[in-house]
């Protein structure tokens, strides 16, 4: 979100530089004194903010990449094509940042390649490693089209576009697998994770909520880039995304409630325990409220209201992932975890880098269709 106007760096650019400097300092400590020097991670809470937000949320927030490409290229809903490239860009940058976060969080990041040769097919983490490696490759290939077009490499672009369908289908399958598998991580801790979050349906809930949040991200990033780059908003398109988002939230919400009722925890969920309050924050604030808002055409037509409702969905999603990875484990682990300031600084730095890279890409690559009436879409073969 950097405005390239004028010689003076903007407010947001200064924030980015400050976070980069801070992050560099934290990383120096992390790689010279160990994880304990910069985090509140402990034997009770071996996973903290970096896993809970940077990885679990990062992967989910990038889910628009596979849903929108599937809708456009498999379901043949062509009118969503203008948002394919920004969504693919978000997904690609999102996954790159997830891997970067992983390099900071892993105790021995130089062994990151080990799952390639040391196999344990019984491990969900092994499966996720493979899926993320493969999907990152798919996203890179999908993203490369923008670079080829910018460079005028028509043959490479044609080859890349010829591979669209297999790439999109591979992306959808890989995403279905690892988005749900992030939930499967926690299937092995029935005794530790609070019953408001522990359910055999964890993988299904992770998958459904990723679909919803991916759509919310499409709306939010369109709004942000329209403000940052002075582009017009594809409002009719975003209104429709908003409408689909209501349906996606509905499917997720009903599944979540049905699961709680089926297991007999509906009463607990709407009780007054600490866990219940966090559940209500996540569910009422991040699922029910935006659903009620977005169900009204007037809200969807209003740029700001549409944006605010989508932000609620994103916040609710983040709270859900943090509830699963932190809040829901606190009672069993006998303590509380709050990230240390340096931990939070790294997360903020990664978010800022994401915004900055997105801005750079929009500035230098044909991410958005050129703004000429009537809108002439990027020449993508169908």
């Amino acid at each position: 979100m950097r405005r390239g106007d004028g010689g003076r760096p903007s407010f947001w650019t200064l924030i980015l530089y400050a976070l980069l400097a801070l992050g560099a300092g934290v990383l120096y400590l992390r790689f010279t004194r160990g994880l304990g020097a910069v985090t509140h991670l402990s034997d009770r809470f071996p996973w903290g903010l970096w896993v809970g937000f940077d990885i679990l949320c990062g992967v989910g927030l990038a889910a628009g990449g596979f849903t929108i490409t599937t809708v456009v290229y498999v379901f043949n809903v062509k009118r969503f094509k203008p948002i394919v490239r920004p969504t693919v860009l978000t997904a690609f940058l999102g996954y790159v940042l997830v891997v970067v976060a992983l390099l900071f969080d892993l105790g021995r990041p130089w062994n990151l390649w080990h799952p390639l040769v040391m196999w344990n097919p019984r491990s969900v983490m092994f499966e996720v490693s493979w899926c993320v490696m493969l999907y990152l490759t798919v996203l890179f290939l999908e993203f490369s089209g923008m670079v080829f077009e910018r460079l005028g490499w028509t043959k490479a672009l044609a080859a890349q576009q010829g591979a669209t369908l297999p790439l999109v289908i591979a992306g959808a399958v890989l995403s279905t697998l690892h988005q749900s598998s992030l939930g499967s991580f926690y299937l092995i801790v029935p005794g530790k994770l609070h019953p408001l979050w522990y359910t055999p349906l964890l993988p299904v809930l992770f998958f459904l909520s990723a679909i919803a949040v991916g759509l919310a991200m499409v709306i939010v990033e369109s709004r942000l880039s329209s403000r940052a780059f002075g582009r017009h908003l594809e409002m009719p398109l975003l209104m429709e995304v908003g409408r689909v988002l209501v349906a996606a939230l509905g499917v997720y919400g009903v599944t979540r409630l049905y699961d709680l009722a089926h297991r007999g925890f509906l009463g607990v969920a709407f009780g007054g325990s600490r866990e219940a309050l966090f559940f209500q924050l996540e569910f009422l604030g991040g699922v029910v409220a935006p659903m009620l808002l977005l169900a009204q055409p007037a809200v969807r037509r209003n740029t700001k209201a549409l944006y605010a409702s989508s932000l609620l969905v994103i916040l609710g999603f983040v709270v859900h992932r943090l509830n699963v990875s932190i809040t829901g484990l606190e009672a069993a682990q006998g303590g509380h975890y709050l990230p240390a300031a340096p931990e939070a600084a790294i997360t903020l730095m990664l978010v800022a880098i994401g915004f900055a890279l997105f801005g750079l890409a929009v500035k230098h690559l044909p991410v958005y269709p050129p703004e000429a009436p009537p809108p002439a879409f990027a020449p993508v073969k169908t």
Binding site: R79, V173, I188
Partner: protein, 266 residues
């Protein structure tokens, strides 16, 4: 090579709380610190908690028969060996710490302040066991409160003690069936929950729970991939048919985009 898996039996009735096992474990692994450890750490593979009524309870890796830690490790750095111990190979380890999250007994510890950190936990003195010796904690124990043997022998011994000493033990061997059984077995004079044992873990090996999800992957890949391809074929075929129909009807299809035709066809 022995085929029978080695195990430990820890009898809380016999334990005199001398903490020799804690000290011997430290010495065997060249760890510094005293024998007063009450919590496991990266330099305490076993610890001892004293309860009212002169009860002393050892903490250590339970060496599950189907260990969660080994099941979740993406690179197989943790292994349930045929000899009994669950061992760890730091050279393979990524440092993802999923083993620590997954362990139902909260056993693995991490070297949080090291630049090249490793997971730390009891390995039942695997090197000593391989050399035909007993673990250090067993060797030192003056009361034979911790003894080593094959799991079958020790289970038989535990049930013999329960049967021959009515009223001395609760009639349960902790570890016989918990999470599918463990290679460390406990006998207690009082119900285990009173000594802060994890109860209610069930008898199902926990790796089964993640396997239930993982085994669906081939189905998702084949059925999902085929379904998506079929949907692609149908949606694009429908478009072709609509286009052909529009042309055949002599309508001014040339100016109509395919998407609009598809809409009209619905």
């Amino acid at each position: 090579m022995e085929t029978a898996s080695r195990a430990l039996l820890i009898d809380i009735v016999r334990c005199i709380g001398c903490r020799g096992c804690v000290a011997a474990c430290k010495e065997a692994h060249s760890f510094t610190g005293s024998d007063q450890e009450t919590e496991l750490s990266a330099t305490a593979y076993t610890a001892m908690v004293d309860f009212d009524g002169d009860r002393h309870v050892r903490k250590l890796c339970m060496h599950c028969l189907k260990p969660s830690c080994a099941s979740v490790c993406p690179v197989g750095a943790l292994t349930k060996t045929a000899a009994g111990p669950v061992t760890y190979d730091a050279r393979k380890c990524l440092g993802c710490r999923y083993c620590m999250v997954a362990c139902p007994f909260n056993v693995p510890r991490y070297e949080w302040s090291r630049v090249v950190p490793a997971v730390r936990k009891c390995d039942m003195c695997a090197d000593r066991v391989a050399a035909g010796k007993v673990p250090a904690c067993v060797e030192i124990c003056p009361a034979e409160a911790t003894v080593a043997g094959t799991r079958e022998e020790l289970l038989a011994e535990a049930h013999r003690r329960i049967a021959e000493n009515p009223g001395t033990y609760v009639p349960q061997v902790y570890g016989e069936s918990e999470v599918g059984g463990t290679s460390v077995l406990f006998l207690s004079p009082v119900p285990f929950e009173e000594l802060a044992f994890q109860v209610g873990l069930g008898t199902q090996p926990l790796p089964d729970l993640t396997w239930n999800a993982l085994e669906k992957i081939p189905g998702v890949v084949t059925v999902g991939g085929a379904m998506l391809f079929a949907i692609w074929w149908i949606t694009h075929r429908r478009e072709e048919v609509a286009l052909a129909g529009a042309r055949g009807a002599g309508e001014a299809a040339a100016t109509v985009t395919a998407g609009e035709v598809k809409h009209a066809a619905r």
